[in-house]
């Protein structure tokens, strides 16, 4: 048993210590909003926050995040930044297939927490590792700007 702090709750999970956080979340905690796509930190679909920083959960063993604060897409609305990002995503209809969007959104929240009014270049830098096969990129960028606008400076 490994106990993790997920979305503000202590969760005891019956997973091996080498299990990537991704699979502990999905199969252990039944939080399936975080997605598997590459398993090698190559696409960003599995992005969650660990102590506020965006990490690739597919390559993060659960043993390394014990005692840390883990936040997933299911708690994206837990703060104003997350709410603004989700609202912007919905306003601009960013999603297409939607499979990568949990990761895009968690990446965008992390960016906006550090940089309240990011430039295009800063958005590119922060989110260029989040692949979208539907190529919703035009709207991802616009939605980050929209969320920043809603949050004010």
């Amino acid at each position: 048993m490994i106990t993790l702090n997920i979305n503000g709750k202590q969760r005891a999970l019956d997973v091996a210590p080498d299990t990537p956080l991704l699979w502990a979340l999905r199969d252990g905690a039944q939080l399936t909003g975080t997605k598997y796509s590459c398993g090698m930190s190559l696409c960003g679909a599995c992005t969650v926050h660990v102590d506020g920083a965006a990490v690739r959960s597919c390559s993060t063993p659960v043993s390394t995040v014990v005692g840390k604060r883990i936040r997933t897409i299911e708690a994206a609305d837990a703060d104003k930044v997350g709410q603004a990002v989700q609202a912007a995503w919905r306003k601009l209809d960013v999603v297409q297939c939607g499979y990568c969007q949990s990761g895009q959104i968690m990446g965008a929240i992390s960016l906006l927490q550090k940089t309240r009014k990011p430039t295009d270049a800063q958005i590119d830098e922060a989110l260029q590792g989040n692949l979208c096969r539907c190529a919703t990129y035009v709207r991802v960028r616009a939605a980050v700007h929209e969320a920043a606008k809603q949050l004010g400076v």
């Binding site: 997973v15 091996a16 299990t19 990537p20 699979w23 999905r26 199969d27 252990g28 039944q30 939080l31 399936t32 909003g33 975080t34 997605k35 598997y36 796509s37 590459c38 398993g39 090698m40 190559l42 696409c43 679909a45 997933t72 897409i73 299911e74 994206a76 609305d77 989700q86 995503w89 919905r90 209809d93 960013v94 999603v95 297409q96 297939c97 939607g98 499979y99 990568c100 969007q101 949990s102 959104i105 958005i123 590119d124 830098e125 989110l127 260029q128 590792g129 989040n130 692949l131 979208c132 096969r133 539907c134 190529a135 919703t136 990129y137 035009v138 709207r139 991802v140 960028r141």
Partner: protein, 734 residues
Amino acid sequence: MSEITIQNLSRRNFLQGAAGLTLGVCLPLSAQATFVLPDAARIEPNKRFEPNAFLRIGTDNSITVISKHLEMGQGTYTGLATIVAEELDADWASVRIEGAPADASRYNNLLWGPAQGTGGSTAMANSWMQLRKAGASARAMLVAAAARQWQVPVAEITVAEGVVRHAASKRKARFGELALAAANEPVPESVSLKDLKNFRLIGKHVPRKDSAAKTDGSAQFTQDVQLPGMLVALVAHSPRFGGKVASFDDSVARQIAGVVDVVQIPQGVAVLARDTWSAKKGRDALTVQWDDSAAFKLGSDEILASYRELAKQPGAVARRDGDAETAFASAAKVVRASYDFPYLAHAAMEPMNCVMQLSSDGCEVWNGEQFQTGDQYALASVFGLKPDQVKLNMLFAGGSFGRRANIHSDYLIETAHIVKAIGGRAPVKLVWMREDDMRAGYFRPAFHHVLEAALDAKGTLTGWRHRLVGQSIMAGSAFEAMMVKNGVDHTSVEGASSLPYAIPNLTVDLHTPKDIKVPVLWWRSVGSSHTAYSTETFLDEVARAAGKDSVALRLDLLAKHPRHAGVLRLAAEKAGWGKPLAAGKKGEKRGRGVAVHESFHSYIAQVAEVTVRADGSLKVDRIVCAVDCGIAINPHNIVAQVEGSVGFALSALLRGEITLKAGVVQQSNFHDYSLLRLDEMPKVEVHIVPSAEPPTGIGEPGVPPVAPAVANAIAAATGKRIYRLPLAGQDLRG
């Protein structure tokens, strides 16, 4: 378009129920409907209702539209619901959407004959009149029920936003209040459909219905399905197509905690575990010896070399106009070029997967289900069931781009064999890792094209010869007899054999090598994914050779194709064609290129602006698109689909390539099959041609013109012509 009256073919076969009105078109009496809810829970059909085809109205005012097509990102759910809600005059906020069960008698794709499935950008096109009638019939019955209750004439009743009103008596009722009474009304013999000018939803900005669930993690994909007692299966597959298991050692795998069973299946060796990570560890711990005696062992270089040899001989004729031989014999100038196109993987973000459960009365599947009828037959065959004993729950698909509509039902059959091998004792979720997905084949086929153009002394195009060499998608499938005519698979030559330009002497022919055993499949835009490139870059080269402007030459040759010409003019105008392009930085060369192409009855022209930097690297700056897809049901989504198509096509143009060495696929994940990234996405402008024509598709048609427009822009910038895709590794400096 004027107000039209249509005959409603519906049988009167809905019943009054306790909770609302059930409506549909051609409802079978015996069908059982099971719908997938967003939380993947299932509800049993309410026995007091007839199962409905497309619409259910609850006494709680809920409007449920049943989508017969898969939502894989292209906006189908929203689009189909919009059509129903428009004619129903529903309150859009009350509308929800459910995926239809597999039942071709009600949910067949009207452009696919008796088969149910999604593809070929047909969802809106085939559903347009069907769903307008469904919505209009329901509206008429609600109105009739109100007229009867209120004892007022039908003609005095109005409907808006889900409310039925009689102004003179100041009476009104929400749909839910009338649902039970409406269920007693006769199905109208005919219904009036709205005039286009009265549309309130169609053509307006209607937000996607799946945005909320796809931004809070609650949207259910196949990957997310959890059933009690379910086992997760990973499979060790042969590295070569056609390889078989010779022997395997699972002793280490079976000792891994969580691993429950290891079974051999025709596709390889499957490890079943209680969770995904344990299954992966188990799969990776297998030692498998493969029997490659019947496996395919050629490399992609050898395949393309053999295609170039084949191209020296005439192939099966796909189109012949006039007398190309004479035109070439008397030509003042001949332009010739050949093109190589690689295999391409779909690489949807959700790798292929499937959940399956066997029960006493059949087999139940949870899947991003794109080809219900084919998959029902395929699974029935594995289990010895009747096709209608295969129940398919259609979930959201995390992309597909054609991959999930597999005429060979590959990953579903693989799942079925695992379920069969364990005697159906547990539900199974097949999970492919990215590497399994990348190497499983069913690629866009590699192709070699040769094009020749004959010009007379005035530079007029008098002859055109186009020869294609590549594998048939339909060969070996149940559809081969139907889809391959005179040795020509239409999906191999579409876009080439349908060349719209007025060229008096034209021949298109095709070689279909039978000895190449790489599994191939349609990939977003199918044949046009390569034919648009060769035809549109070659025509550009011909225009240069003839000393003509690329847009002017095309317009000259499109006199009989006003929709092609219409989008071409619009794109050229919006892009400022003919005006000088702003200069780049020192050492940079900039260029503008154009392409126009029809696919799936939609017409798109694109003008690309590019910068070739001093180091030879490419920046695609802007793509201006003009689209004619008939009536624009959801302009916001049309723009999104074209934006996405630009990105999808650029991935392939820049770096997309699956290669084989000795039969083994060389790519495995996103590091060596890399997709376009946010920072590489150009500005995209989309202009929609106003139209009263019936709607056609938009999921695919944005893809074909991108690569040729960009390649033509590179040629305009540096003079360099690109005859081999992708661009990676090629010097673009001219």
